[in-house]
């Protein structure tokens, strides 16, 4: 220990901070990836129970009888990594292999500005909200490229659908976030959380309820989740943009980014509308109680709740028809956000509610 401290102090301060930041990034990324693995299991279990099945209940490890099936995602990872990667002979080889990475990188990089706890955020940038929007809009390139580079009709159709859908819902999502930044007066995610101080009723969801619904629905559409998963509609176009992918490329193109994006959208939903790491009981119980303290625990609970809603929606709703998706995006969600931004500015002008001071 003594020796470690002296070596550590001998390192120049720039290098010290570089090492610390790198370790923080690795820690966040590993957490996200493990969360993805457990989320795939949770998805199969939750949907299983909703449909009166058991879900995965065989693969186990360490002989944990009560949690039978918990090692299923790790077995799946091993299976996917050991499978052969098939590259279609008529494909554009470089882009075919590049596409999974282009989907994966923004899904992980967006976590850089996420405020996990009052004092822990990787990069406390001023324009954090814009950064998140910019990065989430990049994932669509991977999907389009995967569809185009596969040189397959089904993959191409899936890519076209996905691109049109993502561009349409990004606008609704952006407008919903305009309402959030009007309420917080800042683009910094930490400041957006701090602006919602004071218990469950003063979080943004109450005054911005329509925007919250729009944001969550657009989040479902952006992540290509049911009921908006026409990009991979099995009954029409086999599997959509990832039909030609196999093994490890399938895992990085489809499974990892999709679930990482689900967790990201849930986390952003909690930050923008549900007070991030703030405690819901703040102001309702004495301030020195443990449950009134802000902390990562609350963010974690909120993320879990939204992830459950994601799975619940998937188990409940049938898939939308393609033209209905476009109609919902352009003709319902965007007008709703525009109207509510107007309502919000009138409220702020009249000093009603949270804008009272």
């Amino acid at each position: 220990m003594e020796k470690f401290v002296t070596t550590w102090n001998a390192i120049p301060p720039d290098l010290q901070s570089l090492i610390i930041v790198t370790m923080q990034i690795v820690a966040v990324m590993l957490t996200v990836i493990i969360a993805v693995a457990l989320l795939t299991l949770a998805e199969r279990k939750v949907i299983g129970y909703m449909q009166l099945r058991l879900g995965p209940n065989r693969v186990t490890f360490l002989n944990l009888r009560l949690l039978r099936g918990w090692a299923q995602p790790f077995a799946d990872v091993v299976k996917l990594l050991l499978k052969e990667i098939i590259i279609p002979s008529a494909s554009s080889r470089l882009l075919f292999l590049l596409a999974p990475l282009i989907v994966l990188v923004p899904a992980l990089a967006a976590w850089a500005v996420m405020p996990f706890a009052p004092e822990f955020v990787l990069a406390d940038v001023n324009a954090g909200l814009l950064y998140v929007l910019a990065l989430t809009s990049l994932g669509v390139y991977g999907v389009i490229l995967a569809g185009w580079a596969s040189n397959s009709k089904y993959a191409f159709l899936g890519a076209m659908r996905s691109a049109a859908q993502m561009v349409a819902y990004e606008i609704a999502m952006g407008f919903a976030l305009v309402g959030v930044l009007m309420a917080a007066g800042s683009l910094n995610l930490g400041d957006i959380v701090r602006a919602q101080q004071g218990g469950v009723a003063s979080w943004n969801w109450f005054w911005l309820f329509p925007l919250f619904i729009v944001y969550f629905v657009s989040g479902l559409a952006e992540t290509n989740r049911a009921p908006f998963d026409v990009a991979e509609g099995e009954s029409e176009i086999v599997a959509g943009f990832h039909v030609e992918y196999s093994g490890a490329t399938f895992a990085t193109l489809f499974a990892l980014p999709e679930y990482a994006n689900m967790i990201l959208v849930s986390a952003l939903c909690s930050v923008f509308f549900f007070g991030g790491w703030l405690s819901p009981l703040q102001g309702y119980v004495p301030d020195d109680w443990f449950v009134a303290q802000p902390g990562f625990f609350w963010l974690f609970l909120k993320i879990c709740f939204f992830l459950f809603v994601f799975l619940w929606v998937r188990a409940t709703f049938p898939r939308y028809r393609y033209d209905q998706i476009m109609r919902l995006g352009w003709k319902v969600l965007i007008p709703v956000t525009l109207v509510w931004i107007g309502v919000e500015s009138v409220l702020a002008w009249l000093h009603v509610g949270p804008w009272a001071n």
């Binding site: 001023n126 389009i144 561009v167």
Partner: protein
Amino acid sequence: MLVTILFYSFAAVLIGAALGVILSRNPVHSVLFLVLCFFNAAVLWLLIEAEFLALVLVLVYVGAVMVLFLFVVMMLDINIEKLREGFARNAPLGVLIALIVIVELYYVLWVRRLGIEVTGGTAPLPENYSNTAQIGAVLYTEYVYPFQLAAIVLLIAIIAAIALTMRKRPGQKVQDVAHQVSVRAKDRVRIVKMATEREP
């Protein structure tokens, strides 16, 4: 020092990608090189602490405009050979335009900046300086009329695009949503009452 190294490496990638746009044979690759260009330009803006402009460039151009561009280029059936046919005929015009651009760049970079330190970078901005707020403050006060004019031009462009595609043309298939919703079972199924037929 680090900023200088970053600047030159990103600028080098930017120039390489710009060359890729005009030199690659496949139009889809050209579009992707253009995306790389925008991305590197955004990073250069980040290096001079203009984070709002950088992120909006990525958000608008990379995230929306280029996606639609890629969309169109993938759908088009472009005959490269035919496009290359008029090269010799159009070369003098191309050379002329290139010369004009070079002269203009020379004017901007050399004559107008004569005696001004341009490679030193800008002075670091103070802490808590938000250039998003600064741009907003200038845009909605000093430049409010140009800003509104630009918005009207964009609105006209949107209306024009809709007007061009929404016209009635033969063979067009559209859904009438109100009609779809108001359909009742009796419009689709006809139940016929008839006497039971006897076994022959």
